[in-house]
């Protein structure tokens, strides 16, 4: 589903974020990308979304080479196939929970019928069926992250990218989010999660790719944090 072929990313200020990284993630896999801050986890996610271009190497997502995607058509299509969750939730404060999730479908031109069917469905799935008309600031951090996860999944993506999704949450709430990510993975979505939450990685026992200074230093199936 995701292939990185000898990826190097050097930023303009000559900081090397990733160096000769190769990675193969089959469809339906759950992968943790771990490593300290600045090890290149977020850069990898930005590259997969084509928010950045690699300096060298080639990336494939769902069989398509990202380098060949056009900004007017190819990149939007790529991102429709990728759900994203971030540490800071990225919810719109002036929209209700329903509207926040509906927004993701609305802006890609989905008809109202589809929105009215899918949004309550996915909110029910993440356990927020009774809070659809609340605003984000009325929700706890864990609940907000569940909204963000619902938004990421409402268009049924092939891949889910999660960048420190539990970074702002307490351990108990984090476990809830991990259960949901696991659920999403079980229905066939490939999940790539960047984290430095040791407890979670150790508890889940999934594939672990460790980055250090932009290099892959460990790639282990059913691994632990360190």
């Amino acid at each position: 589903m995701i292939t990185l072929r000898r990826i190097t990313k050097v930023f303009k200020n000559s900081v090397v974020a990733l160096e000769d990284v190769s990675l193969e993630i089959p469809k339906g896999e759950f992968v943790f990308v771990v490593g300290p801050s600045g090890s290149g986890k977020s850069t990898m996610i930005r590259l997969l979304l084509k928010e950045e271009e690699p300096t060298n190497g080639e990336i494939f997502v769902a069989g398509k080479s990202l380098g060949k995607l056009s900004h007017w058509k190819g990149v939007p299509t790529l991102r429709r196939n990728i759900g994203t969750v971030f540490q800071d939730f990225k919810l719109l404060q002036d929209k209700t929970i329903f509207e926040n999730v509906a927004f993701a479908l609305e802006v890609i031109g989905k008809p109202k019928g589809v929105i009215d069917q899918r949004v309550p469905e996915i909110l029910e799935l993440v356990g927020l069926g009774d809070k659809m008309n609340d605003f984000p600031d009325e929700l706890s951090g864990g609940e907000q992250q569940r909204v963000s996860l619902a938004r990421a999944c409402v268009n049924r993506p092939l891949v889910l990218l999660a960048d420190e999704p539990t970074g702002n949450l307490d351990p108990g709430t984090s476990v809830d989010i991990m259960r949901l990510l696991d659920k999403v993975n079980r229905i066939g979505t490939t999940v790539l999660m960047a984290t430095h939450d040791q407890a979670i990685v150790d508890a889940m026992r999934r594939r672990v790719v460790e980055l250090d200074n932009g290099k892959v230093v460990r790639d282990q199936s059913r691994g632990v944090y360190s």
Binding site: L49, K50, H71, W72, K73, V75, P76, T77, L78, R79, R80, N81, I82, T84, K90, L92, F103, A104, E106, V107, I108, G109, P111, K112, R151, N155
Partner: protein, 302 residues
């Protein structure tokens, strides 16, 4: 349908959100287009006056009523033999009257007081080099007398007029005026583009979080940009509409009052103002598109 609904909802929210900035943009677009329309109308007035006074030729040879066909033919040939003469057209009394009627359609009092017979027939001459009018005068045996009128030796000539000379100063004034207004309009055009581009930037900034999410979930460039483009179009077209309204008001309140006082001059009419409207709309649309390109440049690539 839903898509169009979405675009207009987004546009309206945008306009409401930065009301004052949008107002400045609309006001500037309005002034720009008013000046532009004004310049076009002044030019139209210039054309009307030129046509009224000269019928678009530089030299008129008025003929006596008694001039015979042979005399007229002889005069025509004399003129055509001159290398500087481009064309010679005969205008009969009836044709002169028809042109008179057309030009002063606004002033029936004037038209009713003139009979076809009162207007002389003429040879209307255009010159390739108008400044060599003296050659025409010489060929016709005309000489300036003390009163500044030409006395002509050839038979059949009532009078000889060099329109270019008499009107040159007026034309110069009108030309400079129309160019000055056009230059002012050009300057305002740049400000209008800058201000509308600015409202777009303010809008982009106010909605940067929404735009970031839109990009993330795979909204296309068009989907993100079109609301801003429509916003720019609405702003400049509201400005254009206001300018059109004001131009019609100015025509009714100012030009139509003037008509009673300077009945001898043809003045612009409603259809002249109407003729300017599509040009204003085209310029307004152009302003919006250029402003959008500048406003969104380097800001919005996915």
């Amino acid at each position: 349908m839903r898509r169009i609904d979405y675009y207009f909802r987004e546009t309206f929210t945008g306009l409401r959100r930065n009301g004052l900035v949008a107002f400045a943009a609309i006001a500037t677009a309005f002034i720009t287009l008013l000046l532009f329309g004004g310049a076009l109308l002044i030019y139209r007035e210039y054309t009307l006056i030129r046509e009224a006074t000269t019928g678009n030729v530089q030299v008129a040879v008025y003929l006596t009523d008694s001039a015979s066909g042979d005399a007229v033919r002889l005069l025509t040939e004399t003129l055509q033999d001159l290398p500087i003469v481009e064309s010679v057209d005969y205008e009969s009394k009836q044709e002169a009257y028809a042109r008179f009627q057309r030009l002063f359609a606004n002033q029936p009092a004037l038209v009713n007081n003139v009979t076809p017979d009162a207007l002389p027939a003429s040879l209307r001459v255009s010159l390739s080099e108008p400044e060599k009018f003296a050659q025409v005068a010489a060929a016709l045996g005309c000489r300036l007398d003390d009163t500044g009128e030409y006395q002509c030796a050839k038979p059949g000539i009532l009078a000889l007029r060099d329109h270019r000379e008499t009107l040159q100063r007026l034309f110069q004034v009108i030309k400079v005026l129309s160019l000055a207004v056009l230059a002012a309009a050009g300057l305002m055009l740049v400000s209008a583009i800058a201000l509308i581009a600015n409202t777009i930037r303010v809008g982009l900034f106010a909605r940067r979080k929404e735009i970031a999410i839109m990009r993330l979930v795979g909204a296309t460039n068009w989907r993100i940009r079109i609301p801003f483009l429509i916003e720019a179009l609405v702003e400049s077209l509201v400005g254009a509409a206001t300018a059109v309204v004001l131009m019609f008001m100015g025509k009714v309140l100012f030009i139509d009052q003037l008509r009673n006082q300077v009945g001898f001059l043809p003045l612009i009419q409603n259809r002249d103002v109407l003729f300017v409207v599509p040009w204003l709309l085209a310029v307004a649309a152009l302003v919006a598109i250029v402003a959008s390109v500048f406003g969104m440049r380097r800001f919005l690539d996915v």
